[in-house]
């Protein structure tokens, strides 16, 4: 008997979707793989879109297929194909064009979209929330007639966007409600070196404030009214207030949604032959076991690989991710934040060391036995060793003093393992 070709359908052609496609192709050379995207562009490395604003890279340099690990052929990518519904009983999906597409295995990898808070006047032209290449192109256009841009929110996305705009020669002001930048990734005291670097780089900052209204005229945005009554003149506003999973199209289906699409340890949803991965999925924290929704490229790729295996018939358990797993460089200061780093008011055993150009915080379980979090600012060398220890959740025993002093190297771990 000739086995029937499996029809794999993937909604979302980005990190999670393409990683899954890659894995499926390695395990099943015959099945058909269709990845749908509502965007107009072929898959690209989403974190690179700020380079579209600076103009430092062309689209061809951001493309995903054929780069890094994305080498498999015979993956059918369909653009401009918004999926509007999933029918789990007859195993089909509805595409905006009216087409019904059947599937044998379905992956939901629709990612997330920016959260837009209900601020009066927010629909004005010149207000952006950077997520797609189209957003980046539109921002680049608007930047041409912008002198001053205001960023609402001090998270990583807004910092990256702010730097792209600074590089283009714009004046940029960051407006943040919390006392410090990057409050999702560190505590206020941890952010001093980064804040100083931002100021050195020319970024202006207003803290403890939020926007109560966005002002505009026929040319679009022309200012922001703050909740303390101040008015800031600007020609562009960028919203960086976190992301929300793209689950709206599942409203009519029986696929379980709780913030994101709920997936079990094997990346499977509650309905047969449906899987979920990436920003859209509810996954879990590998240290705490807590259910979480993340916005991480690394999680999207790993979970996508895992879902791909499960879809191709190789049951594979997902090991989870760390809720915080970020590395980047802001201005001339690199930093890495991993695992549990918000420790005020908790009984985690915490070690902090601060020097003029480097800061670190190492967080252990209250009994001091395991490493659960690490934050490095300035010096991030060998950060991966610490991530490994956090993720493995193994007792650190003999190497603890090296961890605290940040002298850990692979030799220590090797000696400890055997």
């Amino acid at each position: 008997m000739v086995a029937k070709q499996t029809r794999y359908v993937i909604i979302g052609a980005s990190a999670a979707g393409m990683a899954a496609a890659e894995t499926i192709r390695k395990l099943d050379s015959k099945g058909s793989i269709t990845a749908l995207s509502k965007e107009q562009d072929m898959p690209y490395f989403r974190p690179m879109i700020p380079f579209m604003i600076t103009g430092k890279k062309k689209f061809s340099e951001m493309m995903l297929i054929g780069q890094g690990p994305y080498q498999s052929a015979n993956i059918n990518v369909r653009l401009n194909s918004t999926v509007e519904a999933v029918h789990t009983t007859d195993q089909t999906i509805s595409i905006k064009s009216g087409e019904e597409l059947p599937y044998d295995k379905l992956l939901i990898a629709t990612g997330s979209r920016p959260h837009i808070p209900p601020i009066a006047g927010i629909e004005a032209e010149g207000v952006f929330a950077l997520r797609t290449l189209s957003d980046a192109r539109a921002m680049a256009l608007r930047a041409e007639r912008t002198k001053h841009a205001v960023m609402l929110g001090g998270g990583l996305l807004n910092l990256k966007t702010a730097f792209a705009l600074l590089e283009r020669g714009l004046e940029v002001t960051l407006i943040i409600q919390s006392p410090e930048v990057l409050s999702q990734l560190m505590e206020p005291n941890d952010a001093t070196l980064i804040r100083d670097a931002l100021i050195r780089a020319g970024l202006r900052m207003i803290t403890g404030c939020s926007a109560s209204r966005i002002l505009s005229d026929a040319n679009g945005v022309n200012g922001v009214l703050l909740d303390d009554g101040r008015e800031v003149v600007c020609q562009m506003v960028c919203i960086g207030k976190g992301v929300r999973p793209n689950v709206d199209f599942l409203g009519q289906s029986d696929i379980k949604v709780d913030q994101g699409v709920v997936a079990d340890r094997f990346t499977a949803c509650n309905t047969l032959n449906v899987f979920a991965a990436g920003d859209v999925a509810v996954t879990f924290d590998s240290t705490t076991g807590e259910r979480i929704v993340t916005g991480l490229w690394t999680n999207a790729v790993e979970m996508g690989h895992c879902a791909g295996r499960n879809m191709a018939g190789q049951p594979t358990e997902y090991t989870g991710t760390l809720g915080i797993l970020n590395a980047t460089q802001v201005a001339d200061v690199p930093f890495v934040s991993m695992g549990i780093v918000h420790t005020s008011g908790t009984d985690y055993e915490t070690y902090v060391a601060s020097a003029p150009k480097a800061y670190r915080k190492l967080v252990f379980t209250p009994d001091g036995a395991k490493l659960v979090g690490a934050l490095f600012v300035g010096d991030i060398s060998r950060a991966g060793l610490y991530r490994y220890l956090i993720r493995e959740g193994r007792a650190v025993k003999g190497i603890k003093s090296f961890i605290i002093r940040r002298q850990l190297h692979y030799g220590h771990i090797l000696k400890e393992t055997i």
Partner: protein, 168 residues
């Protein structure tokens, strides 16, 4: 197809002389000459690290070119790929210096070049028949063999096994 070769470490032989460091740095310079390489810009970088573990063990550490290379899958710009020979390489033209790979490499062997703002690591010396560090090692603590020829063991466990053998 012939088996790809790998760099193995024989811990019992390493005397911590750092000759491999110098050979690596020179091989990754423009001039490929010790004296000229010192004044080059960007500064040529060493990619093999000789660590010291108490009481007195020397442990050369370098990129394992892992099977499911975490760095390659994590890279947010597609700069890391695997060559046909199985070597995991970083394309510095594509690297944007986000340091995600530094955060995920469990061996801690990816360096940050501060002048160029690029990540770098062992590339197994694509221009040489035998990697420079292996060639330079005076005690043959570093060897370049196929997995089969070395021990018939899987790559991740090779180093670990050597240590346990050493302890016996």
């Amino acid at each position: 197809m012939s088996q790809p070769k790998e760099i193995f470490v024989r811990l019992d032989r390493c005397v911590g002389c750092h000759t491999c460091n110098i050979a690596c740095t020179v091989e990754h310079s423009k001039s490929k000459n010790l004296f000229e390489s010192i004044s080059e810009h960007p500064t040529p970088k060493n990619r093999v690290y000789v660590e010291w573990v108490p009481t007195d063990h020397k442990v050369p550490v370098l990129c394992r070119h892992c099977e499911d290379a975490p760095c390659m899958h994590a890279c947010i710009s597609g700069a890391i790929s695997r060559t046909e020979e199985g070597v995991v390489i970083t394309n510095s033209d594509k690297c944007i210096g986000c340091w995600t790979c530094v955060m995920v490499c469990p061996y801690g062997v990816i360096g940050r070049h501060l002048e160029t703002h690029k990540a770098y690591r062992c590339d197994r010396c694509p221009d040489l028949k035998t990697p420079a560090c292996v060639d330079a090692c005076p005690t043959q603590a570093l060897v370049y063999r196929t997995v089969e020829a070395f021990s018939g063991d899987v790559r991740q466990d090779a180093a670990r096994k050597m240590i346990s053998e050493e302890r016996r």
